[in-house]
Subunit: 400 residues, 2 copies
């Protein structure tokens, strides 16, 4: 009736309980959202100033060039140079969010039936985007007992077959919070070189690294830069997820020419949001520094409470703003629904994100949830984690 691709896709685990949550809220229960990577930090004033200026310039809101507004491409380029990556303006294609950057990259690199190496557990929308493209995800497991560290070159190479076109790496990782070491990255690059694969580097969380850990970009492997496709976004960096502006960056001119065809197929990204996004790159570095301090406190609050929950398997993340947590023998979807429908502490409950879809075989993650700590204050997070703790105890006692 509909396409097999559509029917094989999942409704996003991050979003599919929204209707239920809305219903529960309408009945007066307070639902603390832990499901979505939606920061609550205000979008910088530079964004609002820019769109206000744009609003006084009454004109025809025309298509921009498909490559993106020249000043926005320049802003991306300047930003990369500041962090030591030599992307010039022609190396950048503006996209409507990091999602579009990923979709266009996959479409440019892989055909129906080809595959792309991903590391489980992965960002669930990788599955959706790959299915849209008819491309298979070829999973390599990172293990909870190894703190989700990357497997070595040999392990990665084992998964590669004649249909493999690229290795997709999220760094810092969503949902595991792992930040790759130089050795781990060397291993990926070694394999990519050996098999002449592209590396799709999803580095939208680049700034969100806590403690002594250092973030390194795959784009810093300059001798291999023509095989690296960087997918980026202003969403997390500037607390502007709804702006939907990202980019694809690569020094590979032929790749860029092919990928431009995808950009032309949708004509252009939205004009006003491109103007706003351009201004975001003028934001002072203190913005991200302050956000980092706040996120680290939030992470620590969560870790403090989570560590007291019996039977809960978790790792404190080094980067991004998620915990991936394994519930003690509890089905994550059932528990998420139960928390919304049946449970509360003083009129409050929490909304989790089950991450079965972070695995090619969702059963592998059936009892895992992702907890986002970017959208609630430390106080609310403490409350939320205590609700989680009491919820698990009650669920094990009453329901299971």
């Amino acid at each position: 009736m509909f396409s097999k691709r559509a029917e094989s896709m999942y409704h996003s685990p991050i979003r599919r309980y929204n209707p239920l949550s809305d219903k529960v809220r309408a009945n007066g229960k307070i639902v603390l959202p832990l499901n979505i990577g939606q920061p609550d930090i205000l979008t910088p004033g530079e964004f609002f100033d820019a769109i206000k200026d744009a609003s006084t310039d009454r004109r025809t809101i025309a298509y921009t060039v498909s490559e993106g507004l020249p000043e926005l491409r320049q802003a991306f380029s300047n930003f990369y140079k500041k962090v030591g990556l030599a992307y010039e303006v022609p190396d950048i294609l503006v996209t409507t969010g990091g999602s579009e950057a990923l979709l266009f990259t996959i479409l440019t690199l892989a055909d129906h039936g080809d595959n792309i190496i991903v590391f489980e557990p992965f960002y669930p929308n990788y599955g959706s985007l790959a299915k849209m493209a008819g491309v298979d995800l070829n999973p390599v497991m990172t293990k909870r007992e190894d703190n989700f560290r990357m497997p070595g070159a040999e392990q990665i190479a084992k998964a590669i077959n004649s249909k493999t076109k690229a290795i997709l790496v999220t760094n810092p990782n969503n949902p595991t919070g792992v930040v790759l070491t130089k050795d781990e990255m060397d291993a990926v690059v070694e394999v990519a070189k050996q098999y002449n694969l592209y590396i799709i580097a999803d580095e939208v969380y680049r700034e969100f690294v806590y403690g002594d850990v250092e973030f390194i970009s795959f784009a810093s492997y300059t001798e291999f830069s023509d095989n690296v496709i960087l997918c980026d976004s202003v969403s997390k960096r500037f607390s502007g997820c709804g702006v939907r502006i990202g980019c694809v960056a690569s020094t590979n001119k032929e790749f860029m020419s092919q990928c431009l065809k995808m950009c032309q197929s949708r004509l252009s990204s939205p004009y006003i949001e491109q103007v706003g996004a351009t201004a975001l790159f003028n934001v002072d570095d203190s913005f991200i520094q302050e956000a980092l301090v706040e996120y680290k406190s939030r992470r620590d609050v969560c870790a403090e409470v989570i560590s007291t929950i019996p039977g809960l398997d978790f790792r404190t993340p080094d980067g991004a703003f998620y915990f991936i947590v394994k519930l003690p023998g509890i089905n994550a979807d059932d528990f998420t629904v139960w928390l919304l429908e049946e449970f509360d502490v003083d009129g409050k409950t929490i909304m989790l994100c089950p991450v079965g879809e972070s695995y090619v075989n969702p059963q592998d993650g059936a009892s895992e949830v992702r907890i986002s700590y970017c959208g609630l204050s430390c106080d609310d997070l403490r409350t939320a984690m205590n609700i989680l703790k009491e919820g698990i105890a009650r669920y094990l006692e009453v329901v299971k």
Copy 2:
């Protein structure tokens, strides 16, 4: 090296001469653009007022729900009801432009190797979007000598095979300007019913109909509405192409549920432009009425001059804002480049859009160009058409 799908795609014929045109302009030549469907009429003030208001509401620019802002879905629904189409809010998914509406619809209806009936000549990006999806376009020719009128049910049925999933119809048509009669639409619906196919109705030019011709929507076939997927956009209606807001509308609940998965894969459409687009639906009907008067004058100016060009084969369009013109034995791409590089009249030249890519086999349209009359004043269009006239004469004399 790259995907076959990317390599088989074309750089948009509407946009691929932009770099050349920029170069020529930099050297001082004035280039009158006839290549792109970019209206020059100002975007209504309501849009700017709305984004100005949004700029004063300093907050976190968050993801919206993937379905689109509730008030924007409501605005689309109200608009449809006003024109007699009974789409309720749940029947509408906001998309980032009509392009995304088309892509998501194709992805939801057809798998790799499936096909969709299109009528040649078609909007070139249909080819790109279908290739992105791995779906084949299954062409049925409409003929210049028949004024590009639709073939009958029998002719359409002949093209259908076991892999055919839908019939994609552009009405009013880009690039031919044809507005379908009730009889022509009945024939499409008859075939779609007989073979249980979907009708993908691209009606983004719905308002742009000149003279006594009446526009009818496929969505008005209420008994067949579950098989009709409407793809729409605010771009042309409100002279806001750079807003990149459109929608998919259908009463088919299962289709909407499947298509929502595509929407969730890109999280949401941009927030600010959704706010602006919502306000566009408050624009008084006089806006479009005035635009229509202007476009009709422009069409008539073009027709007046074009009709004096020896050997040029053209039809005066009833709708949209394009002429499709067959040059007298001239290759359209070569001529487009020559006009930019080698020709001018008093320092001015024109930029055309070759439409080979409006045919599955581009050779079928190798000598055809699309002329857009939405972006220049009557005076400039008269100048442009005279440049075309002189250019053809000179090209036939000197070059060919």
